[in-house]
Point group: C2
Chain length 385, copies 2
């Protein structure tokens, strides 16, 4: 097992009918900025319930945080927070709203050009004061509700941002708030969560048994409940298991003491930025090819994945690995996502542009061992086409 | 899945050679009280390394915290902390030292008779200020390094104590610090951790799939590494997996959203208080009989446990359940613990005294459904004899 640090102070408030507790969770007398996205939280009444729960606190609203939230939008919200002396941010929405609000919390207290905060990668941004953020999560997918990471889009790139104080203070996770989501967003959430897990699991063995078994447990849960929760949106238990899987996938627990390979996310980010393909759909496209191209480096864990997650035990090693990759791809298709780049109308000749973008963003040494170069990325994209 | 709250702010510092980081983890200028037990941390040099890492901070020491720490001992330490204006407590030891230090942290800031803090059960004690506690955990077993609970002994009883601020600020878990433990203490740790998991798992089903799979994952890990780490104390990976299993068993994660049945611990506490049997050994004695007596109430989860943890799939339901209970008992014996009450020289006629003690301590409605009365406790003890 590798040495590790684990710390996650977010208070999870999970279950039915928990929104009224916002009154206890948000500091009394706080000046609150409620942030949200495209208006579905208005349409389905969630925003009204949130505002009601906040009682007589001074509440401002900032809507319109888009999918893959843009720096310019977030900078406007930070300016509002500064102008109105906001002291608590409450994000109501999915990963984009939560990520965006974490950035607002950093930018609102930052003197200087906050776009400079986009250029620190996975290192903490140099900010000394951060506004506290709470969330009401309405889309199970990104894990943002229980981690300190955000991804912000700016000038054609997607930039990770983090800080030790970027964990939400609390996150209210009421699975029934997600019943009204479009099927495709639920399917995206299933695949996004699944890929988060395997990126921390299908690497090389370090004898981290609890983490491996936990990862396998989340994967098996997603395989069991994914198709059910897409087909039956109001099945509470299925949705509750998806919500907790999504959170558990990226709260740091399964990633403690093991290597991680974020190649799929890094290549996927470029596909979203360049072609506007949904984040999870880029992952469904890229992952199978990453595994095929990196079969030798990942052989031991791919075999473990085949046996423990898919019960594949017959055939020689290469056959078992290919069966597991095919089963994964079939699972993504089963919940409703296409898994070939051509399915998303990307011309094969644009692959060169994607590789150029990877190069421009410094993504030239990906993988758990830092040796996946642009040639391999090209091979992955060709194979995924 | 049941509604739940999960919050655990402890910073885990896991791995080899982490002690020097105490200098960053403990606040600069803190007046530190280092607490420990019977002296093995002195003998094996851990205490020296801790003191060295604390540099030029003002450091006091309080040793002699016994197994099943006594209120009177802890009250003396609290008095010392108060007298010397201590502002940080650093527990170096196993569960008893960590539990005891959590109590010192509460008592040191409490005006009045701190023995009154023993009578709040699992409700938070009425204390407004709590000294911060860090730990250097030298025995993988109780999970105290990453939860807000303590158990304190007083006048023949064992009393749970908790407070929202009783989570350690940090816990340094270096598996190699545990290499020098006597074999029996390691075996005790394996069994204590195992029982913590099943008490949150072998109850009744609530469709909490991630939690169930995580529980099963910890159990399988303990079954795999338990005998190895008892036999090979300096096998780092085996010990590291035991340490992380022990912490994961009782940090709240697998217990979120599921029922729990602490019957085995409650009956076990009386056996420790009355006969001085090691805590884990009381659990090894009591658990199999709890399951046999409560077979009907736990049928579905016992069958799931048999299949998923022990791969038992042949025979009718009752046979599969009995096979699983026998396998569990054999596992406890395999790591080195006896599993019959008579093995610990308890006369059968003293069972009546144990039942009387349970009654005196209000333990008359145990189990996940609160319907396990004194007659069932007597039946469990007779069966366990």
């Amino acid at each position: 097992m590798l040495n590790f640090d684990y710390r996650n102070p977010t208070h999870i408030v999970f279950g039915k009918d928990r929104l009224a507790e916002l009154d206890q969770l948000v500091p009394a007398n706080a000046r609150v900025l409620v942030t949200y996205g495209g208006g579905s939280v208005k349409r389905f009444g969630t925003l009204d319930k949130v505002i009601t729960a906040l009682g007589d606190r001074v509440v401002f609203e900032f809507g319109g945080i888009e999918a893959n939230p843009k720096y310019d939008t977030l900078a406007r919200a930070a300016e509002l927070a500064r102008r109105e002396s906001i002291d608590f941010l409450l994000a109501v929405g999915g990963g984009s709203v939560m990520d965006g609000t974490k950035f607002i919390a950093l930018a609102a207290k930052f003197d200087g050009d906050s776009s400079s905060l986009l250029h620190h990668g996975f290192n903490p941004v140099p900010v000394t004061e951060v506004l506290p953020v709470g969330t009401v999560a309405t889309l199970p997918a990104t894990g943002s509700e229980m981690n300190a990471f955000a991804v912000v889009s700016h000038q054609g790139g997607k930039f990770p941002v983090t800080h030790p104080q970027s964990f939400p203070v609390f996150s209210v996770l009421d699975p029934s708030l997600t019943f009204s989501l479009p099927k495709i967003q639920v399917a995206n959430g299933v695949v996004d969560s699944f890929v988060h897990v395997v990126e921390q699991y299908v690497t090389f063995p370090v004898d981290a048994r609890v983490q491996d078994r936990m990862a396998e447990g989340i994967l098996k849960t997603l395989i069991e409940v994914g198709p059910v929760t897409v087909a039956e949106p109001e099945n509470y238990n299925a949705r509750a298991n998806l919500v907790w899987s999504a959170t558990s996938a990226l709260n740091g627990m399964i990633g403690s003491g093991v290597p991680a390979d974020w190649t799929t996310h890094m290549i996927g980010h470029e596909l979203t930025a360049m072609f506007g393909i949904d984040h999870a759909q880029t992952l469904a496209v890229v992952l199978p090819s990453v595994w095929r191209v990196r079969k030798e480096q990942k052989r031991a864990k791919l075999l473990q994945y085949a046996e423990r997650v898919w019960d594949i035990t017959s055939g020689d090693e290469d056959s078992r690995i290919e069966q597991a990759i095919a089963a994964t791809q079939a699972f993504f298709e089963q919940v409703g996502l296409k898994t070939r780049l051509r399915d998303y109308d990307v011309p094969q000749e644009r692959i060169a542009d994607v590789v150029a973008a990877l190069e421009a963003h410094g993504m030239t040494a990906l993988s758990e061992t830092g040796d996946l170069g642009l040639d391999s990325s090209r091979e992955i994209l060709e194979l995924a086409w």
